[in-house]
Structures are given as structure tokens and as C-alpha cells.
Amino acid sequence: MESRLLRVDLTTGEMRDELLPHALFERWIGGSGVNNWIMWEHFLTHDIDCDPRGPDNIFVFGVGPLAGTGAGSGVKGRITFKSPCYGIFGDSAAGGKFPYMVRFAGYDHIAITGKAPAPVYLYICDGNAVICDARHLWGKNSAETHEMLRHELGDYPSAAHTLTIGLAGENQAGIASVVSDASRIHARGGGGAVLGSKNLKAIAVQGSGGIKIHNPPGLLKWSDGFRQKIDSNEAIYGFKRRGTLGAVEMYQHIGGHFWRNNQGCLFRGEEVRSDNWVKKYHKYSEVCSADCFIACDGRYKIDGTESEKSKKYAGETFRRPEYLTTASAAGALDVRDWSEVAHWGKVTNDYGIDNQDLSCAISFVMELKQKNLISAHDVAELFGKQQRLEWGNMEDIEALLRNVSLRDNLFGQLFHDGPYWGALRYSEMKGQNFMKYAIYGKGGAAFTEEMRPFPTWMNNMAVASRGADHLKGIGLIEKFQRRDLSKRYFNGRTEAADLSIPDLKGASTALLENQVALINSYGVCLFHWMLDPAGFAPEEYYGPAYANITGISRTPQELMQNGERICNLEKAFNSRLGLRREHDTICERWMHEPTTEGMYPGKVAADMFETVLDEYYEWRGWDKTTGLQTQSKLTELGMGDVAEVLAADGALARA
């Protein structure tokens, strides 16, 4: 495996190439696994308690060995950093063409430290890198920045592909995101604020190189089998048309949405809860990266004739929103017109901000207003003027989006790190406890789905390394009640698929976290595995592709151990920051307020939460009392060096 890392120090302007050793990939696979290790090593020589918005924080971009090779379908790039909004481990993925263009330009990983004295962008072209003046880009949104860079750099040796920040990143809003090619977003954790704090407006790449493959004929054979496997799946045809929005009707059926700050779990809007938007707005499906066989992505266009409200957005065209973008508007904020839901996706992308955190922050204050817990005086204090705070009022919602992005009033200053920190700061400021209305897990905003009926999901929200998270554990054995998967992974036992009992739910979290870590380190999209978790098991199905590309052969058991190792490093990072069992928790509403509608009414997380958490630690081999890792588990995983660091920091469980 040949792989290059570009190190950039923005304070000094120094840049250097490093050839990453083969052994690094044997240990960490690639992609997110290698990103994590680069960050871990960085904080062995820099203060891990540093200000995430300071020059000592590191921003790592990485792409896995399978990306851009035609192995697997759909590419994911990953950014890794200490999170400015949550203060813990932070990372986020996005698809599109930028990730593999970085490989074509000669690198697999980019590590950025320091702070430029003035706005700059990093330009990489076929193995050469240069830091360029970006003062003319400062103040532009993510789409404008992308277009300006494309125009500026031209089409040789390839069209330019970009990572950019919008106004939220420039203003270091904690929940600011990094936008890939103007339309795909590394949303979670505040990577945009890290780039903003470094005065780095963008990274632009152009590449015409190739990717060295260990065994090209073997890879071609594997890829052909992959394509045939995808093509023979009849369900794929539905996903070509709807993508993840296929989940809207399913969640409306079971009660899986997140409505008005999770006061309910069903969409109310007639249009947004149905499938009618497909006929009205969908224009065509498209692939997000050149080697995707599914094309779950799509474009919408608003003609302005679809509804009264659509007139305002006539002519607007953008990526069709994913399910969670839709849920954050149609659910969390109760927006009922689909043109407004689509616009929400575009405008949060343009500002470069995480619409999950943002919708949970806005719906928090909307609920306070709805319940008369804040007065007109309080509202004027928060916003500098009267603000209606009406559910579903997109005009108001967009104003609040701007406030958080620019941090231009008290609301923006309090809530730019998301709902947890916003609610905490506001409670302290008012001397009143509003925390029961903040929806979060481990300080991270909820992802906007109803999760109380699903004990594995509730466990995921508490233990995920980057705070409440649907993309670290993915409780799909339980959510889709897959007895076959439960039997396969737990010696014939079926309990993991049974929603009504706590058994094997913590075990499922550990298993699924390991599998997801593996996929993220390969650098491929999770979608195939989510569609068919048995058919595309990452430890089995993708193993031969990884071997054909890298020359590193691994048994499924060894690959699962790689996944486990990657999860343990993320955990170790947070342990060094002082996180313990008490931080693996979720908000009061999820814990104690029962669901009132949908197929699973009366559910609260508290019924099973501690039992599941205990089981999770047991399956992880961690100490149940403190939540800390043990010497024996880390030794088993070949992580004795990590254990030494933890022991020195007092962050290793006592024997």
C-alpha cells in the first residue's frame, strides 16, 4: 500500500509530504482509521485540552483505499478534528467527487495545523501544493466559493473540486460544516469552525494521476460481481428514485419521525408525509461519485407552480434533500410545504451549517415559546427584537439560521454550539433549568428521528464517540427487526432483533460500531450495507477488494478486530479528555417522557438504558463502573502504546 500524507502548517506556511508506512494500513485500514491515528499522534505532542478553535487543533482530511477504484459504490471522504461544539472527538463524512480527486492529485490524507495570518485556500494539483490568498473569497457562501474557485483554476488537468466553508465557518459557529463541491456536506461536529479558526476558506484539488492497485485483474473481477449483485437487487430501483427519502412514508407508518423537538413522532403536513413530492419536484436521479451503481442522489427543481409558498423559490434547483434534512425541517420545525423543506436543505448548505444541530437548537426555543416558558421580553432579549418563533414559519426559521451562522445576536451567541450547550448557557443565564427541552446524547444534538422505542439506538446516542449519532452504530438489527442478522452474529440468538427486551442491544451497538468503523476506513458509502447488511457485510464482502487494492489480506475476524481497534482509539481520545460513564448519557425527554403516538406508544429509554449500557461495556471489554478501557482489552487489540498514554493520563481502568 502506497499512500501519501500532506502536512500543512498554516502558521509558518511550511508543507511537507510523508509516505505513510504499510504497517499503518495493516493496523488502521485507511480512511477514518488512519485519520484517527494521525490526530492521536498529533495530540501526543500538543495539548489535547487545547481550544478547538486555536492553532493547536488539527484538521485531517482522509480517504480510504477503496475510494475511486471502482470497488464498492460511492465514495466517502472524512474530516477528523477535535470538535469545537462538543469539545470531544469530532469527525464527519461526505461523498461526492472531491475525495477521490484528492487521490488523483496524489494524496490520501491531508493534515492541517496552525493558523494563517489572513484568509487563504489550499490548492493541490498533481502532487504539488500551494497556499493561496483567499481574501476575495471571504464573505462568500459555500456555493459561491466553489464556483469562484472553479472559474479561477480552470479545467486543466481536471475540473477543480473543493471543500469550502460558508459564513457559519468564517464566524466559527460551533456547528459549522465543511461543504464538498458546493452540495455535499461534512455536517457533524463543527469542522467548519475549525477551518474558520485557521483562516482556511477552502481546499481545492485538481488531479490527473491514477491509483496504484496491487492486483488489478482481481479487483476488476470483484467489481463486476459487485455491480451484478447491486443490479439484481429489485429494491434498488426504488432507491434510485427516492434515495433515503424512501424512509419518509415508512417512518410515518411506524412513528419514526421527530416532530416539534420530539414532542411527537409523526409529520403533520399532508404533502411532506406522503410520496407526492416525487411527482412534483423530482427531476432526475444522479450519482454522487463516478463509481456509484445506485444513484440514490437526485435533483429537484421548484417551478413555482407547485404551491403558494413555492412561488418564492421559483427556479431554485439543488440536490434533493436526504431524509434527515427533510426530517429536520418537516419534523423538528414542522415545515409543511415541500418547496420550503427543499430550500432548507439548500440554504443550510450555502451557509455551511449542520441542519440537525441547528433544527434542534431552533425547535428548543420554539418549544419554550409554545409553552409560554419565555416571555416577550425574553424573546426580545434573545433576538434583539420581537420574533414570532412560529412552528413551520420558514421566514422566521431562516432568520434564526442566519443568527446562529453569524452569531449576531444573543441567540446566535448562545446556541452556535448546538442545543445542549445553548440550553445549558441559557439556563444558567436565566437561573432556570430548561434542560428537559434540549434533545441530545452525550452533548451532541439528536439526529432527527424518533428513537425511544429502539434500545440499541438509545445506546448509540449515549456512547457514540462524537455525540448522539446515527452513523457510528446504526442500530439496524433492531430497527428493522432482523432476526437473521441477530442469529448470524450472536450464535443463533434472536434477541437483538426484539424491541421489547434489553438483551443483546449493547452487544449490537458494539458489533455495529466495529462494522461501521471498517466501512468508514475503506472509504466507501454505507448505503449498500444498510440496504443489505448480510450481503455486504464489511468484514466479509469487502475484504477481498481491500486485499486486491492494498495487498493486505485479512480474515473476517482480523478485519472485525481492525474495526474494534478503530473504535477503541476514538474512545481513548475522549477518555483523555475526561469522559467517563456518566458522560455516556442521553437527554431527559428520551429517558423519561413516553412516546404518545405511532406504532410504539408509551416507550421511554429509561426502562432498559442502564442494562443496555452495562452490556455494551461488557461486550467492549471496558470497565462498567467508570466506562474506561482496560489494559487487557487494549493489549488484546495490539494497542499497548495507547494504554500507556491513557495510564499516564489516569484514563485507564484500574486492574
Binding site: A235, G238, I254, D275, E322, L471, F480, R482
Partner: protein, 93 residues
């Protein structure tokens, strides 16, 4: 004979072109219902619904729930008047 109602979403609705219907079944089994639906709508539906390697309901990207929100399997029995929803099994984004 029992009567079982169906609700179709997404790809199932695209193939059937209806939101739902009712079936009269001689045996109160999920397998009987799946066969009836596959026979009525042809090979596309059969491929979507049934995994012929295992003769189980096809689980890749699809989900089948009874009126209490429990996933059904081929060997399960059905009560008279039960409603089965044919859904996509996808989340996130």
C-alpha cells in the same frame, strides 16, 4: 379462509400501482400471502418480495410489519383481519 389486508409503500406501490388491497387466504400463513402477492404481480414483485435462495421474505432494503409493528417472517401465522405493511427498510441520510 381468512382475510388479510395489505398496505404498499414505495417500490411495492410502484409495482402494484395501488396503496393496498385484501387477500382471501386458505391457510393463515405469511408464506401463503407472499405467494399470492408474487403470483398476482409477477417476477418483479417476486424478486422484490421473496429470496428464492432461502425462501424467506427478501430482507435487503425491504421490511414487512404487522399492525403491532412486529416484523413478520415466512413461517409466521396471520390472524383474520390482520393488516401487513410492505415498506422500505432504509434510514438516515
Amino acid at each position: 379462509m381468512i382475510t388479510v389486508h395489505t398496505q404498499y409503500q414505495a417500490r411495492f406501490r410502484e409495482i402494484t400501482r395501488i396503496a393496498g388491497e385484501s387477500f382471501e387466504l386458505a391457510a393463515p400463513l405469511v408464506a401463503e400471502l407472499a405467494t399470492a402477492i408474487a403470483n398476482k404481480y409477477g417476477p418483479q414483485m417476486e424478486s422484490l418480495l421473496i429470496d428464492r435462495k432461502t425462501n424467506e421474505l427478501n430482507a435487503s432494503g425491504t421490511m414487512y410489519l404487522d399492525s403491532k409493528g412486529r416484523r413478520i417472517y415466512m413461517e409466521d401465522t396471520l390472524a383474520d383481519g390482520e393488516t401487513i405493511a410492505f415498506l422500505v427498510g432504509i434510514a438516515g441520510g
